[in-house]
């Protein structure tokens, strides 16, 4: 196993936030109540997804520059892993919304934006499988990927802030930075984000290595 230390670090960081996330003090607020602790678990899923999609874009650009097949594979596997974290973010968000807002999916700009962003990345994966020829597949999907990333950012973070949104941190609603007067939450939240991003990268690397092994097996026989 190459370079094990950062994987151990990722596990330790997330483990710490699992303890502190339940036990550390949080501000007492109406409506949110104890669910404010979801900031430690639900939000890092999205941050991890965005980091993986960012990695994917970087490797797509790299692929277009040098045409290295491995860069293309990494770009796909980053999106494949990102979609997992996206699904976890959606499901945990809907669970919370059902209790807090009374329905799992009110027609809120933030939620609909995230649905569009999710569909865009699913379309990326479908597009890849639809094309037969290897080089064409890699090139077209790399270009698509470069366009999808900024639109995803706009859908998730810019449009919901411009209109009214129920979601904390969007529209007229304050972010946890304003809610958390004594900054108790920041260290736990940042640790969770860093830890989960590292775990996302780890999962992505496992998928990438398996894919490379599969390719080598195919080229051998």
């Amino acid at each position: 196993m190459r370079k094990k230390w950062w994987k151990v670090l990722a596990v330790v960081l997330v483990g710490l936030t699992l303890i502190a996330g339940f036990l550390a003090p949080v501000p007492e607020l109406p409506i949110l109540n104890e669910t404010i602790r979801n900031v430690y678990y639900h939000v890092p899923m999205w941050f991890t997804m965005i980091s993986l999609y960012l990695i994917s874009v970087i490797y797509s650009i790299k692929y277009l520059k040098n045409g290295n097949h491995k860069d293309d594979i990494l770009a796909v596997e980053a999106v494949n892993t990102g979609v997992l974290f996206c699904a976890l973010g959606l499901v945990t968000g809907m669970l919370w919304a059902n209790i807090t807002w009374g329905e799992p999916w009110p027609n809120d700009p933030k939620l609909n934006g995230s649905a569009i962003a999710t569909l865009m990345y699913l379309a990326y994966l479908v597009l890849r499988n639809a094309l037969e020829e290897e080089q064409k597949k890699a090139k077209i999907s790399a270009v698509y990927n470069i366009f999808a990333f900024p639109i995803m950012i706009v859908m998730l973070y810019i449009l919901p802030k411009m209109t009214d949104s129920l979601h904390p941190g969007s529209g007229g609603n304050s972010t946890f930075g304003d809610l958390d007067m004594d900054n108790n939450m920041r260290p736990v939240f940042y640790t969770a984000v860093i830890g989960w991003i590292m775990i996302g990268i780890w999962l992505c690397s496992l998928r990438y290595r398996l894919r490379i092994l599969n390719d080598r097996k195919n080229s051998m026989s």
């Binding site: 190459r2 994987k7 596990v11 483990g15 036990l23 398996l210 092994l213 080598r216 051998m220």
Partner: protein
């Protein structure tokens, strides 16, 4: 008659249990403090570290396969 006797015993027993519960000393060792949230934390930790361990083993397996491939291709 037998049933009534039986029910009486059960009720007596139940009453004793309740009395005992009221009188029992609340042992405030940590896992029972503040609404037993520590138990939940432990459960979550066990699940997370279980999955992490699984990932490490998977990682090891892939590394072994990579080594084998490298040997064969040289």
């Amino acid at each position: 008659m037998k049933l009534k006797y039986f029910l009486f015993i059960i009720m007596l027993f139940g009453g004793m249990m309740q009395l005992q519960a009221a009188n029992s000393v609340d042992m405030a060792f940590d896992l029972r403090a503040s609404g037993k949230i520590y138990v939940v934390v432990l459960v979550v930790l066990v699940i997370f570290f279980g999955i992490a361990l699984y990932l490490f083993l998977l990682d090891k397996k892939i590394s072994k396969l990579e080594e084998e491939f490298n040997k064969r291709e040289v």
